[in-house]
């Protein structure tokens, strides 16, 4: 069984993550997921690929803190956070947030909170590689 919070190079399966969550408890009434994926266009430029870099140890620790905070703050039954650190091309998966709760409201709120906080707090960086050149991303759209 895979860890609930992971950094990994390889792709992930949203279905497998949801199935893992649903095995936790029959009390789950809803699962909300967010899958961030690579776009082929950003700020007027065609994107060929994205290169990710991370401070692995600190990033994983921050993700684990986020997981614990979300579990307590939203009263979740379970949550899974997976972020790839790899080179990806448009269409590829980048990040998955999946949360399970008794009711939809806390699941939606927690999922949104987790991805927003991850972008602010987890030391991961992405570089956009375009036909015109490369640039590290410094904004949080």
């Amino acid at each position: 069984m895979t860890a609930t919070v992971r950094l990994q190079q390889e792709d992930f399966s949203p279905d497998a993550e949801i199935a893992a969550l649903k095995r936790i408890s029959p009390r789950i009434g809803g699962v909300v997921t967010f899958v961030g994926c690579a776009r082929d266009f950003s700020e007027g430029r065609e994107i060929s690929r994205l290169d990710f870099d991370a401070y692995d140890a600190m990033a994983l620790a921050e993700m684990q803190k986020l997981h614990a905070e979300a579990m307590a703050r939203f009263g979740l039954i379970g949550a899974r956070i997976v972020h790839r650190v790899a080179t990806v091309v448009p269409g590829d998966n980048i990040v998955l947030i999946a949360v399970a709760a008794e009711h939809r409201a806390e699941a939606f709120d927690a999922c949104r909170w987790l991805i927003d906080e991850l972008k602010l707090r987890v030391p991961i960086w992405k570089k956009e590689v375009t036909p015109q050149g490369d640039a590290w991303v410094t904004t949080h759209p």
């Binding site: 401070y55 570089k127 949080h140």
Partner: protein, 79 residues
Amino acid sequence: MIRVLFFGPIAERVNARELQFDYTPGMTLHDITSRVGMQYPGALSIVSFIALNQVQIGDRQQALQDGDEIAFMAKFSGG
């Protein structure tokens, strides 16, 4: 020994992912910042966060201990 780590855009500017400095008693984070800044002019201009032993820190006068790990980090862009 103090390990100094760089990632993403800062690693690209420094052209290294890690530097090591000899530890001397009384050394502060400011001392390391100055030395890296002198060695790689402009490289730290995009630093938004500094971590000491994987915890974000704001006090540049923080005293260091032998074996500490410092990371100079640009604004995050994961997700």
